[in-house]
Amino acid sequence: MKRFLGFVKKEFLHIFRDYRTLFILFGIPVAQILIFGFAVSNDIRNAGVAILDLSHDEITLKLTDKIISSGFFKKTETLLNYKDIDRVFKKGKTKAVIIFENDFGKKLISEGKASLSIIADGSEPNTATLVTNYTTAIVNDFTTELAGPVLNNSIRISPDVKMFYNPNLKSHFMFVPGVVTLILILISALMTSVTITREKEFGTMEVLLVSPLRPIQIILGKVMPYFILSFINVLLILALSWLVFDLPVKGSLILLLAECMLYILMSLSLGILISTVSGNMQQAIFISLIGLMLPTVLLSGFIFPIENMPKIYDYVSSILPPRYFIVIIKNIMIKGTGLMYIWKETLILIIMTLVFIGLSVRKFKIRLE
Amino acid sequence: MNNTVISVHNLVKKFGSFTANDNLSFEVYAGEIFGFLGANGAGKTTTIRILSGLSIPTSGEVNVAGFDAYSQTEQIKKNIGYMCQKFSLYEDLTVKENIILYGGIYGMSKSLIRERLIELLAKLRFQEYENRMISDLPPGLRQKLAFSVAVLHEPKIVFLDEPTGGVDPITRRQFWESIYETASRGITVFVTTHYMDEAEYCDRISIMNDGKIVALDTPERLKKQYNATSVEEVFIKIARPDT
């Protein structure tokens, strides 16, 4: 045990001595959260909207007034026909156009439903999402207000959301789960694989192997410090996203942290596996970055929704652990669901972890060659 | 013999407050095998960098192959060759490709490269290796080839950094014979090493310590002067321990 603790202490010394890496380790997630957070919170103040009111009745005027006076929006123009939409978007100030259909007020009162279109500038996905979400929320609010005193309960305004430039945009653009997913797998897998291959490269692995240290002690000793660091990183990201971005964890925090630990463990064992197949640090870095970061960003559903991918990418992404973790973390953080809804993904991660650990212990050599 | 190819007068090189070369003065002659010795960190590398035009002196006069070490570093580089133990040839290129590459770097014409290539392969009995990858050659052959490549463009001076460390005794002697042969053609061979038995092969040696040259003479006279049986003994008597 003393041997093991001595080993862990040495690993911590390596980490703290290389303060540049340490800075990156904690600096990058913080920077990402702050950049996303501020970019988003600024844009939704006074976003430009244009109104195309084909009905021009009392209700549409009231609703327009409610939207504009909410503080989130600022009216840029009043349009007269559909042709103007293209022109107004091209000018750039307008982030969304709200269109009331013909006889909006009449239909609402006589038929109990009317439709309203929101066309957002999809070239700025973040803003587009927020603008449509906010507008929808205001419209819903308006409907409830209107329904109570004036009319019967069955009226409905159905907002029809369209993206002007980027029609595939998913409405649940949530970057915090994505950042957590990416950062954890990167730090854990990259750092462990590098720290093990470094020992090989500098020849110190030879001495460790000739010592009474057991392979499992070497592996755990390498993994432990990064497990702790990664976990601190999770707490840091969650705290920041809550403080800066007001993003609370809707579901169980305990469950979330437990899932994070599982995911960290998975990433660490993946890192060890990488180190057993790469001969030097360069290879380890290459495999970790190209092999993990790119697929995580591109295929895990972090940025591009899996539903919209060609089937083949869907299959490829199904072997990527981040794909499952992103579902888990989104469910817990945003939807507030419990283990009931994510047990499948959790199980897959557990199986992956076991496979990786099994493979690395098998592949970790007690001799050279 | 007394045709000076390197002349150094009061060379000083400082890095901030640290003086790496402290007032060096020496001359090296054409066709001489000059051993440049010193402990780790004595300042050898700094001097070599200046002599090969990679670094500018802080003060003093330095002339290499007739060119000034302050203003004519590009001409200096064209007139010297360089070989070190660790790197000299590209391992993932063939023998022929390496020769063509180096010839090209030194601006030799295609026909001249071709001519030297054939000459070289014949001299080293290398024909069968022409299209072999460097990484497939035994270390001894690699070393011989590296040396031949370093003098491919007939430089005035060739710098060798620990040239024969770790090779077998026969290869080592063959290597020194090719150094002798090169020197007999008038090319100056400037050898840096901290293996003193390599120094024994040189015509003259200088020993550096703490940025200064503390001894400079033929190995034989130095051995007499210090009452020693080997250059190693001379060195140990001169150099302080590095701790």
Partner: protein, 310 residues
């Protein structure tokens, strides 16, 4: 006498390359045993087999009375190993390196300080310095301290003097000599023939084969012919001229002279006269005692059938 290492018929291949070919030797307890040979001779591979890091393809290796293949766990506790590159943690300080290796072997620096004090005292003033910032000689001393810290019964040093200056090399061998009193068996490798003299016994190794095993004195004495040195200011001309003479068996440059052996093994005036005739008037010919390197050359010639006649 007890044997620290006993090896019989060890062979090891890497793909088509034969690294070790039927190596047999034994090392006595508490002696300094040297493997002398050039890079690529197989020294490192052999050391990795002794230290249980590699398995031989063929042959048996018993180390400290244990089988190096099956008893590797027990063996690893008793071996101190210093690989070719000083394997230190560059980003840890001198002190931290030493403490780390002590803990890994389940001991403390204090416990075995006496053993390393002589070596460690040289670098102790720099104990807060990072290992990466040490000079070659200091790295070497630290690596030796780390390899010794658990008081191993067998110390294995792979090219400990490569890349280190002459003064540090000499000090290093003095330190190994002082370790004798602790009854530690030391196996050391080096490509430098002149270091053979510092060992009790040496094995000359080349191309994966052992050419000879004996005390340095006996190895020198094994040189079968009379050896002469010839000196002249014009060395290159001298070699070429010597090689042309049919009486010369071998002529090799050795530092400032040429080492020569003769076909009839006796020196008379004819060689000097020949040299003068050929225009080398300053030739000085003397009989000399053969060194390890002369013997190595002779053995290599026998082994490969090489002659160096022009």
């Amino acid at each position: 006498m007890l044997k620290a290492v006993e090896s019989s018929g060890i062979s090891k291949k890497f793909g088509p390359t034969i690294a070790l070919d039927n190596i047999s030797f034994s090392v006595n307890e508490s002696e300094i045993f040297g493997f002398i040979g050039p890079d690529g001779a197989g020294k490192t591979t052999l050391f990795r087999i002794i230290t249980t890091l590699l398995l031989p393809d063929e042959g048996e290796m018993s180390v400290l009375g244990m089988d190096s293949t099956t008893d590797y766990k027990e063996l690893r506790k008793n071996i101190g190993y210093m690989p070719g590159r000083f394997s230190l943690y560059q980003d840890l300080s001198v002190e931290e390196n030493l403490n780390f290796f002590a803990t890994v072997f389940g001991t403390t620096v204090e416990e075995n300080y006496e053993l390393i004090s002589d070596i460690y005292s040289h670098i102790e003033p720099f104990k807060k310095r990072l290992a990466g910032k040490l000079s070659g000689g200091m790295k070497q001393k630290l690596a030796l301290s780390c390899a010794l810290i658990h008081k191993p019964r067998l110390l294995i040093l792979d090219e400990p003097t490569t890349g280190v200056d002459a003064v540090s090399r000499s000090e290093f061998w003095d330190m190994l000599g002082k370790l004798r009193k602790y009854n530690i068996t030391i196996i050391v490798s080096t490509p430098y023939m002149d270091e053979a003299i510092r060992c009790d016994r040496v094995a000359l190794i080349q191309n994966g084969e052992i050419l000879s095993i004996d005390t340095p004195q006996n190895i020198k004495a094994g040189f079968s012919r009379k050896l002469f040195t010839v000196k002249s200011a014009e060395k290159y001309k001298l070699i070429k001229t010597l090689r042309k003479n049919p009486e010369i068996l071998t002529a090799y440059p050795f530092g400032d002279s040429i080492h020569v052996t003769l076909n009839n093994n006796t020196l008379d005036n004819s060689l000097y006269e020949y040299l003068v005739r050929e225009g080398i008037g300053d030739a000085v010919i003397m009989e000399a005692e053969a060194g390890i390197e002369d013997r190595f050359l002779e053995l290599m010639e026998k082994d490969n059938g090489i002659t160096n006649k022009a």
